[in-house]
């Protein structure tokens, strides 16, 4: 029983990663209507840039700089590659374009930094276990939870109380009317995309502290993030977060009894959700159907 609790708790912490990734993905999906298969690529960009800047800015500086730069690159990508395909209603195009982009990012990363795995040095103070009994609750994991919570809360506050946030929410509902009301939807979409990429970059830096850096590191986190969105509900940011936590929890519980199925179980959950209630937990009916 204790083992189950340990694993469940642990899975929840892992779920925080998925939630962070899913949040960025959901942002991009809702407003830009883009299925961003390159999200893992922005994770990698954020991580590697943080690694490169670490000696100059220190860990904390790199933690800020990496994601911000990833977001900046996201802005460029949006302007150059994504904008031309907004007018096409078939989602296959955004899917394939970002798929190709993901390949380019992974390859370029390997070319620039080499295929060798690289470690990200994390300050010692946050790296050790917090208690004897719950030794797997390391300082770093709590740190990850903390940063993610701060980022998520920050995002919700922004969406709720700022003009920009209101516009984004309006745009998610009805982009045309929002535009007709005088909002510059080009800037809005650009900023939204960049913001989503920033979240991916943040996930990358945090993941690097646990996993180290390799060019394909984004791949294993990409699919579960999509699963999180589906389970939580397409179109709902809150759903994305909840979805991420749920699949983390499910994977953790599965690991207790049948580790081999721990990855498969999240796809099984997604399958069930899609058959029984495709809009997910918090999604809206009719969206994307």
């Amino acid at each position: 029983m204790q083992l189950l609790l340990f694993n469940a708790f642990n899975g929840l912490i892992q779920g925080v990663f998925y939630a962070l990734m899913a949040l960025g993905l959901a942002l991009i999906l809702s407003l830009n209507s883009v299925i961003n298969m390159a999200h893992g690529g922005f994770l990698v960009i954020g991580a590697y840039l943080a690694y490169t800047l670490n000696p100059y800015l220190g860990f904390w500086g790199a933690l800020v700089a990496g994601p911000v730069l990833a977001g900046g690159i996201g802005l460029i990508v949006e302007r150059v590659l994504i904008r031309p395909i907004y007018k096409r209603p078939d989602p296959i195009y955004s899917l394939l374009l970002t798929f190709g982009l993901a390949l380019i990012i992974e390859d370029m990363t390997r070319t620039i930094w080499g295929p060798q795995g690289l470690p990200l040095e994390v300050p010692d103070i946050i790296n050790s276990p917090v208690s004897e009994d719950y030794f797997f609750v390391t300082g770093y994991r709590l740190f990850v939870v903390g940063i993610t919570a701060a980022a998520a809360i920050g995002l919700f506050l922004l969406l709720r109380y700022t003009l920009l946030g209101i516009r984004i929410r309006a745009g998610t509902r009805d982009l045309e009317t929002t535009s007709a009301l005088g909002v510059n939807i080009y800037k809005l979409r650009a900023f939204n995309f960049g913001f989503g990429c920033l979240f991916a970059g943040l996930a990358g830096v945090l993941a690097a502290g646990v996993l180290g850096l390799t060019p394909p590191m984004g791949n294993s986190l990409l699919m579960p993030s999509f699963v999180a969105i589906i389970i939580g509900g397409v179109g709902s940011l809150f759903g994305a977060v909840v979805g991420g936590l749920i699949i983390g929890l499910a994977a953790g519980i599965a690991t207790t009894y049948y580790p081999a199925a721990s990855e498969a179980v999240i796809y099984l959950m997604m399958l069930i959700v899609l058959v029984v209630r495709p809009r997910g937990l918090f999604g809206e009916e009719g969206l994307f159907e």
Binding site: I35, L81, P91, Y93, L268, E289
Partner: protein, 312 residues
């Protein structure tokens, strides 16, 4: 009439392939792979291009066909035709049984459900070590020569290519016939205007199911042949990245054209083969091909020639 002419030229080229391909730096196994992938993608295109369903998990049926064929040869009987049959049925059966889950969804949900199914099969292949060989893949089998009474058709490199060409021809004829039939026309109608077809009283879901089942069977057929080509299969033949590659090949050649997938396969497989031999950065080039197709040639290569092709 140029269309018929084009098809005839294509057939002559395919039949003569083992002779002219080495001259331009190719090899027969590459030709076999192109035809096999063409079968797989043309099957997928029945769902993707003709019915309008964003199927992103087709590799599952490809892999099922491959494992079915491989396991038949390894555990059941050393018979190539039986292996092909078992593989094809395995994939076809799976697609038919899973169709009801898939048929009710559209758009991204359709895509994700196909991915979920694909990944589940992938995990079974990876974890069920004793039977499938797990991560290392299924080996220890090889295609057997075919016996017709006393005459033996030895499956050498070239002979196997002709077997694949025969299978390709059969698959093409079957698909063409279906597409010309009321069933095929209904699929296109569903793609063009689903609501209207529903109002006409047609059970759209059943037709989507049918498309899915047929596509799964054909792709599994291709998968079985693939296992026989390399005498090997592995979980990577089930992975969603392969599914994505199938989709790209179709879009590259032209989703709305019957032979679009073949064109796309030729370009993609040959490009990948060539690029990965000359540069370590071939992934970047492949990625750039994806990007430029989407941005510049969304109708695909054949779509440029086919004015009826519409990018929705």
């Amino acid at each position: 009439m140029t269309r018929v002419g084009g098809v005839i030229v294509m057939w002559i080229a395919l039949v003569a392939l083992p002779f002219w391909l080495p001259w331009i730096g190719g090899y027969t196994a590459l030709g076999s792979k192109v035809l096999i992938y063409a079968i797989a993608t043309m099957g997928l295109n029945l769902v993707l291009g003709f019915t309008g369903g964003l199927s992103f998990g087709q590799a599952a049926y490809f892999g099922l066909g491959a494992y079915g064929a491989g396991m038949t040869l390894k555990y059941l009987a050393p018979s190539t035709p039986l292996a092909i049959l078992v593989g094809t049925l395995a994939g076809g059966l799976a697609a038919t049984l899973l169709g009801p889950l898939v048929m009710r969804r559209r758009g991204i949900y359709f895509a994700m459900i196909t991915i979920a199914i694909g990944q589940l099969f992938y995990f079974v292949a990876v974890r069920w070590n004793e039977v499938t060989g797990g991560e290392d893949g299924l080996a220890g089998f090889s295609r057997q020569d075919i016996h017709f009474g006393s005459w033996v058709y030895r499956l050498t490199e070239n002979n196997f290519y002709y077997l694949v060409l025969l299978c390709f021809t059969i698959a093409v004829v079957i698909m063409w016939t279906i597409l010309q039939s009321p069933l095929g026309h209904t699929w296109v109608a569903i793609r063009e205007n689903r609501r209207r077809i529903e109002f006409l009283g047609i059970r759209v879901e059943r037709y989507v199911w049918a498309a899915f089942a047929v596509a799964g069977t054909i792709t599994a057929f291709a998968g079985a042949l693939n296992a026989l080509l390399f005498n090997f299969t592995s979980p990577q033949d089930l992975h969603w990245i392969l599914s994505g590659n199938f989709v790209i090949m179709i879009v590259l050649g032209g989703m709305r054209s019957f032979f679009g997938p073949l064109v796309g396969v030729v370009i993609f497989v040959v490009a990948q083969d060539y690029l990965s031999s000359v540069t370590g950065n071939w992934m970047t080039f492949i990625g750039m091909i994806f990007v430029s197709i989407v941005l510049l040639f969304p109708k695909g290569i054949l779509g440029v020639f086919n004015r009826r092709a519409v990018t929705t």
